[in-house]
């Protein structure tokens, strides 16, 4: 890694330093992944690829009756069980996804109705490739700070598309992560202490309207895209009056494969023990808008009060949101009120490539 970015870091964002967000906390969280898995080896078998060097070992596949909306609802229901609030107090539902079931009609209203939160004040879908879910969190946190809503629900959910035979097919997975945010109080799970964002016009990955599969610029998606933006967002949390990495107990970076997040960890000299608890891509794949947030769910499933978590998303196009959270006492009471992500990871059904095509709606039926 001898490039400018890895030597000196990216240029600073025009938005200034990080924003301290104290006063807003996660009151409930939930992760959901479908039960079906396909091994990378099985995909490789179809396309004559070598048995080694796959970006992940296996990935989740949505059932034939699942989409981003159904998975968002499942994650939201888990979050609600932990939040233990009347769903009618949730004033805003934002769903980040690049696989929303309708081009026009919000997923947020479907989720709100399904969890008993309807009518809400606000409900909308966000799109920013894999970072739309974290952007939803940033917006909901602002709505709570301003007093416009008492509680808000931020979700990242995707049934990610990968063109058959394309490199993305090995990783493009399905899942959802949901967070109910509210004011910090004695019941809160983790306070969002700080946030920073970093976004530029970088065409590393895109999908035109009506197209079934995304396009990507292959290796271009690495250094000028993923690494520059994640490092840019995280760097501003560490500068000036920011944090030192010694104060952080867990680190989660967006994980489109196993290699990229470990490379960022190496750049920041973060030890493996801080990265491993949130690194789930090898068993789940890249769940796009849910990806880094499911890493956060897995960390919350095991973190202790007083510990700090740094989570940085990445969305192609391109941008990154980085948050620092401090775990609070509420985690001890609420964590076991709903299934942990590890339970969904263990509870799997392996499928072959032909079943995969059926579940992914790749078989033409007339």
């Amino acid at each position: 890694m001898s490039s400018t970015i890895f030597k000196r870091g990216p240029e600073k964002s025009s938005g200034g330093d990080m924003v301290k967000l104290g006063g807003v906390a996660i009151q409930g969280y939930g992760g959901y992944i479908p039960r079906y898995r396909i091994r990378a080896e099985e995909i490789g078998r179809m396309w004559g690829q070598d048995k080694s060097g796959f970006p992940v070992a296996e990935k989740t596949v949505a059932g034939i009756d699942e989409d981003a909306a159904t998975m968002a609802v499942e994650a939201a229901r888990i979050a609600l069980r932990r939040a233990k609030i009347d769903p009618r107090r949730i004033g805003a539902v934002y769903v980040g996804s690049e696989s929303k079931p309708y081009a026009v009609k919000p997923t947020g209203t479907i989720v709100a109705e399904a969890i008993g939160a309807s009518p809400t004040k606000l409900a909308a879908d966000l799109e920013f490739a894999c970072k739309a879910g974290s952007e939803a969190m940033a917006i909901i946190a602002s709505l709570i700070r301003s007093g416009q809503v008492e509680y808000g629900l931020a979700i990242g959910a995707d049934t990610a598309q990968g063109r058959p035979g394309d490199a993305l097919e090995y990783t493009a997975a399905s899942g959802a992560a949901a967070f109910i945010l509210g004011k910090t109080d004695h019941r809160a799970i983790a306070e969002i202490e700080a946030w920073s964002g970093y976004a530029t016009d970088t065409p590393d990955f895109w999908r035109r309207p009506g197209d079934r599969y995304p396009m990507h610029a292959a290796r271009f998606t690495g250094e000028p895209a993923y690494f520059k933006h994640i490092i840019g967002a995280v760097q501003s949390l560490l500068e000036n009056d920011g944090y030192t990495l010694n104060e952080i107990d867990y680190v989660i970076f967006h994980q489109p494969n196993m290699k990229f997040p470990l490379a960022v960890a190496k750049y920041f000299k973060v030890g493996q023990e801080k990265v491993s608890p949130g690194l789930i891509a090898n068993f789940v794949g890249n769940t796009y808008s849910a990806c880094s947030l499911l890493g956060l769910v897995n960390v919350l499933d095991q973190a202790q009060p007083g510990q700090r978590i740094l989570v940085a998303s990445y969305g192609s196009g391109a941008g990154s949101d980085a948050f620092v959270l401090r775990v609070l006492d509420g985690i001890l009471e609420k964590r076991d009120l709903a299934p942990k992500l590890a339970e969904f990871i263990r509870n799997k059904i392996y499928i072959d490539y032909s079943t995969y095509l059926k579940l992914r709606d790749e078989i033409l039926m007339r």
Partner: protein
């Protein structure tokens, strides 16, 4: 496309929520003007429990045209925790997991997709309770 019929039922389809006659206890999927059983006009909103026991099931291998892409699929008769019996599609199971008497729980799924342009109908289905071992 049956948009209005689907929309009137979404509280029940999404959350198993409906209206119970305060006089005779009859359950209605959406708030009626009068009870179809006892003609009462008083109702209480209730949400049925989201878990129960599979009483019996069958496998559909020759489905109606609109469900062809889901075949084969299973339909189960379920007794919910409050004793209510309900028919539902079953989902997310391995073949050897389906047995009469197993614990099942409601999940939110696509039930029917009306072609390329029509509405997507969501609703409840039941799956075997997630193992917490």
């Amino acid at each position: 496309m049956r948009v209005t019929g689907y929309w009137r039922n979404i509280s029940f389809l999404y959350r198993l929520a409906g209206w119970k006659c305060t006089h005779c206890g009859a359950f209605h999927h959406y708030k009626p003007v009068i009870c179809r059983r006892c003609r009462s006009r008083e109702f209480t909103q209730v949400e049925l429990p989201g878990s129960g026991r599979l009483i019996a099931y069958t496998v559909i291998r020759s489905p109606p045209k609109e469900f062809e892409r889901y075949a084969p699929y299973s339909i189960g008769l379920i007794e919910l925790e409050d004793g209510t019996k309900i028919l539902s599609q079953l989902t997310d199971f391995k073949e050897d997991e389906l047995r009469d008497g197993i614990r099942v729980e409601a999940v939110f799924r696509k039930v029917r997709v009306n072609g390329e342009q029509g509405i997507i109908e969501y609703g409840y289905k039941f799956r075997p309770v997630l193992s917490r071992s």
